[in-house]
Symmetry: C2
Subunit: 315 residues, 2 copies
């Protein structure tokens, strides 16, 4: 099968569910119509085999995750997902692998009403670069530089599971518990974010680790943050695994959770609880924004916990 | 130097030359303003070391080419270039290499008034995925599905040089003649395309090889094309290299030229000549669109030249 047949078969057959795509896959470029009054929001992320996912990860999970991590960036801005392009570098033309990949990718595509509008299939070591676009109303957007001293700091879901999942996979590559599932199939928080952006102006997704990501907010907003370790939401699986001796440092610096971390004025506390209930997504207040410049995490005696690694880094 | 320092140093310092970038590099997403009345045009292409360029290619040429091939897609649509994102996968953190890459990339960025608005730097085998966006007026766009029987077929520049450059590099990796330069630093035809789109509705860029790319036009427009081999524009370097015995098959199936191939009603012949003169870019009429379904190339005796390979394929 030639490169072009391969593209045609798998990618042209993906769901076409948007009427703002004037011209989709098949020309030098796609032609797209941004709705009047909306701004365009774009992000791109690459996953490399052996770096961003273990080499033995199932094709379906790789397809799912490559879109999930990009959707998560749109969620962090409060953007409505719209279009996606996919650059897929493959070591071989393996229709079975490709079918699995497309299945995982399509799951999220359908769920979030995105359309694949272009891409490139090339030969080389396995790597996936996805570019997503969405829309925001100019005044209803969440940015890293909008935190204010006094704001409450929240996170969705639980923190540290994906990091633990990776640790478990390293010990037993066929492990399949909830932490491994969280690592391979993170649920981007787009529906929650669309409700949140109505009153929240500052958010980030937790991809590098909670400490590192909240520090990004602090850097851009010129502020600090104070967290209470005991308020960091942990899953039962994680607590059981550590048997009461949770390594806070590990939890705070574990990447790949793709939960949202956001800050709101405390008058919106009730609204956070409401959308948490509406969307069925746990949210936890873990601290507050300060006048400082760094994120500090306090233990039960109000002592600062020394944290050594500021999130996962590739180099 | 950490991954983030690296990104900050090199990418945040790139030229910021557009006022339609509401929020650039540094958040989860960029926020962009598409001008009223315009449609968004997007494309993405990946270059993999050892597949799309020889591994020993200079960093500066890789940076240049990774943007050039994407700009060329915007040219093929007649789109005004605007924004770019860059996914860069690097085997190591080498500031000297990165500086070279950024220089080559920036050259074209500045020339075409683009702005880098996002990206991702990851660790892995060298590969570059670039995503470009531009604008078109809805009625002034060039598409592959707009050729009409009777249209004249044109190409810009000369054909086959990049393919010959690659052949030369394989024999002598330090070769540096005009064909090698054409391979490493193709000039995307965006300025020509912006003049062309005023009266032309159908174009493609020659990246897979002239025959293969014109066949894409024929497939999408449900037509055929008839070319005269003697009308294919060849550079003096190529003619000299082959010493009067030009291998037409090789020329027609060589990739990476990044010239434009376009079709216009013959009443626009004069306008093609005018913009060719204005932009200083050679254009050649090489044949016409037919009622058929395939591209055929005729020799000086009007006999069909058998062509074996339909362009470069990765798999």
């Amino acid at each position: 099968m030639s490169e072009f047949d391969l593209i045609n078969q798998f990618f042209r057959s993906m769901p076409q569910q948007r009427n703002d795509v004037v011209l989709g896959i098949g020309d030098d470029c796609a032609i797209l119509q941004v709705p009047e009054g909306k701004q365009l929001v774009v992000s791109t992320d690459t996953l490399v085999s052996g770096v961003h996912f273990p080499a033995q990860t199932a094709a379906r999970d790789i397809g799912y995750k490559s879109l999930a991590v990009n959707l998560s960036d749109l969620a962090a801005m409060g953007a409505d997902p719209a279009w996606v392009t996919l650059c897929l570098t493959l070591p071989e033309n393996d229709p079975v692998w490709l079918e699995g990949f497309v299945k995982g990718f399509s799951e999220l595509l359908v769920e979030h009403k995105l359309q694949l509008v272009g891409g490139d299939t090339t030969h080389g070591p396995l790597s996936i670069s996805v570019h997503v676009s969405g829309f925001v109303q100019p005044e209803k957007v969440m940015r890293r530089d909008r935190a204010q001293p006094g704001d409450l700091v929240y996170v969705t879901g639980t923190i540290g599971d994906a990091g633990l999942g990776l640790e478990m996979l390293k010990k037993n590559s066929s492990e399949k518990n909830t932490c491994v599932i969280k690592l391979n199939r993170p649920e981007p928080r787009n529906y929650f974010a669309l409700a949140l952006k109505e009153f929240c102006h500052c958010a980030i997704d937790v991809s590098d680790g909670l400490l590192a990501d909240l520090q990004h907010i602090c850097d851009e907003s010129h502020c600090g943050a104070e967290l209470l370790a005991s308020d960091i939401p942990l899953s039962n699986e994680l607590k059981e695994y550590y048997g009461g001796e949770v390594d806070v440092n590990k939890v705070l610096t574990a990447g790949d959770d793709y939960e949202l971390c956001f800050t709101v004025n405390e008058k919106y506390n009730q609204r956070v609880l409401e959308i948490s209930k509406e969307t069925g997504l746990q949210t936890s207040c873990i601290g507050k924004i300060t006048e400082g410049s760094h994120v500090v995490c306090l233990d039960e005696h109000n002592a600062v916990i020394e944290t050594s690694v500021m999130g996962y880094e590739h180099f």
